[in-house]
């Protein structure tokens, strides 16, 4: 029975793309564009900036696909590239504005994310997006992409301990925002809960 392109693993598709298959590359782009978008969006000022960065990531990937090593997970490779591009882009924009930029400046929580959207099936992720750049990123890589602590450390260029600390802080913050029914509380109630804790 012939395996359809949708059934192939990311690593198989990346191997084929490396050998010159445009179709496999397009399938990879289709699988990952939204995932990259939600990962990059909290760092950037607008949806358009996030889309541009996703586009840049895939262009970079297209140019460098010959350097992909199938021994490693494709997602780790992709997110590492995206992460570097995001940092470069952030620094470039800061330099254009004449502001010095530190790594911690990349952790600004997305103020537009998750406001008043806490009751549907994806409420927990919307709440997670308001935690702040690094905390959201580790949660996404851990539970959105199923990467191990070691793989997340490689993507973010941090130590394993630093990743575990970030994951712990993200869990603690997120747990503090959940009500007794384990659903995200409205903002004011969450703030009150945090004060009581």
């Amino acid at each position: 029975m012939t395996e359809t392109i949708a059934e192939r693993t990311d690593e198989e598709l990346a191997r084929e793309a490396r050998a010159g298959s445009r179709r496999s590359f397009d399938e990879l782009a289709r699988r990952y564009k939204r995932r990259l978008f939600v990962y990059l969006r909290p760092r950037l000022g607008s949806d358009e900036d996030a889309e541009d960065l996703v586009q840049d990531t895939f262009l970079k990937l297209y140019r460098n696909i010959g350097g992909y090593d199938p021994a490693f997970k494709f997602s780790t490779w992709l997110y590492t590239s995206a992460n570097r591009l995001a940092i470069d882009s952030f620094r470039r924009r800061a330099a254009e504005k004449g502001q010095p930029v530190a790594e911690r400046d990349l952790d600004i929580p997305d103020p537009a994310a998750g406001v008043g959207e806490g009751s549907d099936a994806s409420g927990l992720w919307k709440e997670a997006r308001t935690l702040g750049g690094d905390r959201f990123r580790v949660l996404w890589l851990r539970y959105g992409e199923d990467l191990s602590v070691e793989e997340i450390a490689a993507v973010l260029g941090r130590t394993r301990l630093a990743v575990r600390v970030l994951l712990h802080r993200a869990r603690t913050s997120l747990a503090g925002r959940l009500g007794p029914d384990q659903r995200p509380m409205p903002r004011t109630a969450a703030a009150g809960q945090a004060i009581r804790d």
């Binding site: 490396r18 010159g20 564009k33 939600v38 262009l59 696909i65 539970y143 384990q182």
Partner: protein
């Protein structure tokens, strides 16, 4: 303090799969807030995983151009080609310097070889004569060699003499005949 430590250990359990230490387990059973944290941490991973697709479905779709050309070159070859091209483009000065050194070296070498005049007949005769003087050892040298060899010869003669007298004694005493064997050929 116990709450902070216990919650860190609960998180560690989630990330590494290590079991919760007994003292932390006892604390979690006794502390309502830490018990709540443990329950949340356990359910958080499954909830985040299950809500992932619903959240992604809410992200507006957008087009991604994956490459500049409609029919790209095989990626691996294209990458290698581009690498070579960029190497040359980024380092024109070292490449030019290396090329100049190679050309200059080749020119000097050729000039030295070509400008060296061919030996004349007289030169050859003189060279042959000096070669003969080198190969024919001076008479004094032969004496030196002999002098160096003579103590060894002397030693050998004394040794032979003592061996043959010992042989004669044995022949006379035991009434036997001992013959000298021819020296063995080396293997």
């Amino acid at each position: 303090m116990w709450c902070t430590l216990s919650r860190w250990l609960i998180s560690r359990t989630e990330d590494t799969g290590k079991s919760l230490p007994r003292f932390a387990g006892r604390h979690v059973r006794g502390c309502g807030a830490c018990g709540e944290f443990a329950r949340t941490a356990t359910t958080l991973s499954s909830r985040l995983r299950s809500e992932r697709s619903a959240w992604l479905a809410g992200v507006p779709d957008f087009a991604v151009e994956s490459g500049p050309d409609a029919t790209p070159m095989p990626a691996a070859k294209a990458g290698a080609h581009e690498q070579r091209r960029s190497w040359l483009a980024l380092r024109p000065l070292p490449v030019a310097a290396a090329a100049t050194v190679i050309v200059a070296g080749a020119l000097i070498l050729f000039q030295v070889v070509l400008k060296e005049p061919a030996p004349t007949t007289e030169d050859r005769a003189a060279a042959m004569a000096s070669l003969k003087t080198i190969t024919s050892a001076p008479k004094g040298w032969q004496g030196v060699v002999r002098q160096a060899e003579s103590p060894l010869d002397e030693e050998r003669r004394i040794l032979e003499k003592s061996v043959s007298s010992a042989v004669e004694y044995l022949q006379a005493r035991l009434n036997i005949r001992i013959e000298r064997r021819e020296p063995q050929k080396p293997l």
